[in-house]
Amino acid sequence: MAKVSKSPWLLHYDASSCNGCDIEVLDCLTPKYDIERFGIINTGDPFQADIFLITGGVNSQTESVVKQIYSQMPEPKVVVAVGICACTGGVFKECYNIKGGIDTVIPVDVYVPGCAARPEAIIDGVLKALKVLDAKQAALEAKGR
């Protein structure tokens, strides 16, 4: 069986980040960090994505969007929360419109801390997510049999 971790396609969504983390995510695509060497493609299409990478905490407007994107992704899939905001709500935690970290809405597999999260940390988190992805695929196959 082909391992899904050999070709993970990544979908990046900004739930309500200050854009600091978003820029660091885009940094990962630049020649210096080049995540394509792992076969990772930054796609904009939930139908084709394996990794859901979210920056920023969830607010009342993005909650439904996050849920919808998550439901549109085919199994196996993993969620990576990038930045303190995405992990817990961060500096915006007390705001009236913020629900908190991503895990208040959908299950999160890997938390990447940092404000803003460094590109090295993001790549590290994504590679951790790949292991989870393989485990999920194996579990799915075991269930299928």
């Binding site: 070709s7 796609t43 549109q72």
Partner: protein, 288 residues
């Protein structure tokens, strides 16, 4: 007869592998041009394997079927080319295959996919006249539409049809979905409108479309091959080498140009068709 069957079987088995490898080479070279390391050369195969193993999410019942038809009809066109059949017929079947892709893309409700479908149709309008002129050019040069006859000429066809070769390079850039002509869907920047026709395709459906594209790649390179081959044995090696160089040139082209607007593509292609293709055909008609 036996030889023909062998060519067809070789094509059926190896075309997707060659197409996939070429795609891998393309991705590495593109990455190196951008000072990146790039993925493994086998990345296209990893991608295919992954796509087949994913959960099926179908937007409707027909998309998978239409994509399969796209693949099957493309394979038929390729098999005919490698069996040495009628070139005109091959080109017609090739465009029929594309119609199925357009139908597959417009079968879903995504506005991006629908825009992609109409752009794909527009691209067909852009390159179709030249493709026909290429077939006519081969007829005027060699006296036959039959691929079997075309490859047995004493001199290579390209000597008589350099203009058509330049024109066909435009067609190939559109068919390979290379910038500046990757309007309907692009291999890079996988976002919204740029994604175009493949927006609603996932898993198996997308994998089938990719395999079809690898077959198409080999068919297009096969037509390039016809330009350079003649009755001598060494011309086969030269032709293969030139095909590879032409493919690398398409990669270069892809990396140094930005996407054009559809009107520029359409008119640009027609001007090339008229100037390079038309003049070439005119000279052929007067001289042959």
């Amino acid at each position: 007869m036996v030889m023909k069957a062998i060519y067809v079987i070789l094509f059926l088995i190896f075309a997707p592998f060659i197409g996939g490898l070429l795609d891998g080479i393309d991705r590495i070279i593109s990455a190196r041009m951008q000072r990146r390391k790039g993925p493994s050369i086998f990345q296209p195969f990893y991608d295919l394997g992954k796509l087949f193993s994913k959960e099926m999410i179908a937007v409707n019942n027909v998309q998978l079927l239409l994509n399969l038809s796209y693949l099957v009809i493309l394979v038929i066109a390729g098999a005919m080319l490698f069996a040495g059949a009628d070139l005109l017929m091959v080109l017609f079947i090739l465009s029929t295959a594309d119609m199925f892709l357009i139908m597959a893309a417009s079968s879903d409700s995504s506005p991006y996919a629908n825009m992609g479908a109409s752009r794909e149709m527009m691209q067909m309008m852009a390159y179709e006249p030249l493709t026909l002129l290429v077939a006519v050019g081969f007829y005027l040069t060699t006296g036959s539409f039959h691929v079997g006859t075309i490859i047995q000429q004493p001199v290579s066809a390209v000597l008589w049809m350099p203009g058509l070769l330049v024109g066909f390079m435009f067609t190939a850039a559109i068919k390979f979905r290379k910038s500046p002509f990757d309007l309907s869907t692009s291999h890079h920047a996988h976002q919204e409108m740029v994604k175009g026709i493949t927006t609603e395709m996932s898993g198996t459906t997308l994998a089938i479309m990719n395999i079809a594209e690898y077959y198409e790649m080999v068919v297009i390179l096969g037509i390039f091959f016809l330009f350079f081959v003649n009755s001598t044995w060494w011309s086969w090696i030269v032709a293969l080498a030139i095909c590879f160089v032409l493919f690398l040139m398409e990669t270069l082209w892809d990396n140094i140009s930005a996407r054009l607007k559809w009107k520029t593509v359409l008119y640009g292609c027609w001007v090339v068709t008229l100037v390079a293709g038309g003049v070439n055909i005119l000279i052929l008609m007067l001289d042959k």
